[in-house]
């Protein structure tokens, strides 16, 4: 962006109609922001279903029997730490620093994968004691809500691998840094959804 354009953009005296179209980065970022909000609305519907059905355990295991707080605290710590390392990685992408991009994004991947493996081990334990999604309405709602979040994390990890490959093959061209930027938004949004999950599902179970 030239100095003249920058001065034009920052000058509030210039009417909006004379400022010209927004840059691709702004349009792409805004579009992705709208997608994230619609994704959060999907989660809201699943949260509503869980809130309605959480007591309907049909004589099977209840929420208080199944959930272990320490396990959830470790999962939360992994996801929160990965959100911060993803932020550091985004800063590295913005400054075009390849080594520190690889470093922070690899840590992000490892923390995300740790979170996912903890969740899978929790799910497989629940399935092994007969508390699968078909046991009761409560467990159906639980597996749908937490499973959808886990699916998002899985997709995020795949996306991260693709982005690292694109940095390796294409370098930091605007297209790649734009996609990386959208990935950062996605990852932070997943962390916001997880705050709702651990508060309502896991901490709410022991009240």
């Amino acid at each position: 962006m030239s100095a003249a354009e920058e001065a034009l953009g920052s000058d509030d005296a210039v009417p909006l109609s004379l400022r010209g179209p927004a840059s691709t980065r702004v349009v792409a970022g805004y579009g992705f922001w709208l997608f994230l909000l619609s994704d959060i609305i999907i989660f809201a519907a699943l949260f509503a279903a869980y809130a309605v059905l959480s007591g309907e355990s049909a004589g099977g295991p209840t929420a208080a029997d199944l959930f272990d707080k320490r396990h959830v605290l470790i999962e939360t710590a992994c996801l929160l730490a990965s959100s911060v390392t993803c932020g550091f990685g985004s800063l590295a992408v913005q400054s075009g620093d390849r080594t520190s991009t690889y470093f922070w994004m690899t840590i992000t991947f490892i923390l995300g994968a740790t979170f996912l493996s903890l969740e899978v081990s929790e799910f497989s334990h629940m399935l092994s004691i007969g508390a699968g999604p078909s046991r009761s309405a409560f467990l159906s709602a639980f597996f749908t809500l937490v499973g959808t979040h886990g699916l998002h994390v899985t997709i995020g990890l795949c996306w991260l691998v693709v982005m690292l490959l694109q940095v390796a093959t294409l370098g930091f061209r605007p297209m790649v840094s734009r996609r990386f930027f959208c990935f950062g938004l996605f990852w932070h949004a997943l962390d916001i959804v997880w705050i709702g999950v651990f508060t309502i599902v896991y901490l709410g179970a022991h009240l």
């Binding site: 962006m1 354009e5 920058e6 953009g9 920052s10 509030d12 909006l16 400022r19 010209g20 179209p21 927004a22 840059s23 980065r25 702004v26 970022g29 805004y30 992705f32 922001w33 709208l34 909000l37 619609s38 959060i40 609305i41 809201a44 519907a45 949260f47 509503a48 279903a49 809130a51 309605v52 707080k69 605290l73 939360t76 929160l80 730490a81 959100s83 911060v84 932020g87 550091f88 985004s90 800063l91 913005q94 605007p174 840094s177 930027f181 950062g184 938004l185 932070h188 949004a189 962390d191 916001i192 705050i195 709702g196 651990f198 508060t199 309502i200 901490l203 709410g204 022991h206 009240l207």
Partner: protein, 124 residues
């Protein structure tokens, strides 16, 4: 790119005023850790009057979501963020309608429903 002023507002996650430094991520992490530990503590302590605990948990969760929005997604009230804020406000509105609307309607239906054993007796 991200630190320059854009012609038509800025993308979410781009804060031209704070520049999203490492420091801001660490401040956000600090707040988020404190709030997370506070909600885990609140759910297992006997110090707090029990009926108040869900409200406290809700407040802590909403506060932490706000912290994430400000420090990680860099949403602010700056004039160039108007579009992002408006979209966020509409999203929160729909989320609120969905969650509280469902809970109120289902609780109301549940309240008005005949107990299952009575219903079975009538069918005999």
């Amino acid at each position: 790119m991200s630190t320059e002023f854009e012609a038509q507002g800025v993308a979410p996650g781009v804060n031209v005023h704070t520049h999203g430094t490492r420091g801001s991520y660490l401040i956000g992490l600090g707040y988020a850790v404190v709030l997370t530990l506070a909600s885990f503590w609140a759910s297992s302590t006997d110090v707090i009057y029990p009926p108040g605990v869900p409200i406290l948990l809700g407040v802590l969760a909403i506060a932490q979501m706000g912290i994430h929005l400000v420090f990680f997604l860099h949403i602010s009230s700056a004039p160039d963020q108007t579009n992002n804020i408006l979209a966020l406000a509409f999203g929160i509105f729909v989320v609120g309608l969905l969650v509280f609307g469902s809970m109120i309607i289902m609780a109301h239906l549940n309240h008005n429903m005949m107990p299952m054993d009575k219903l079975l007796q009538m069918q005999r």
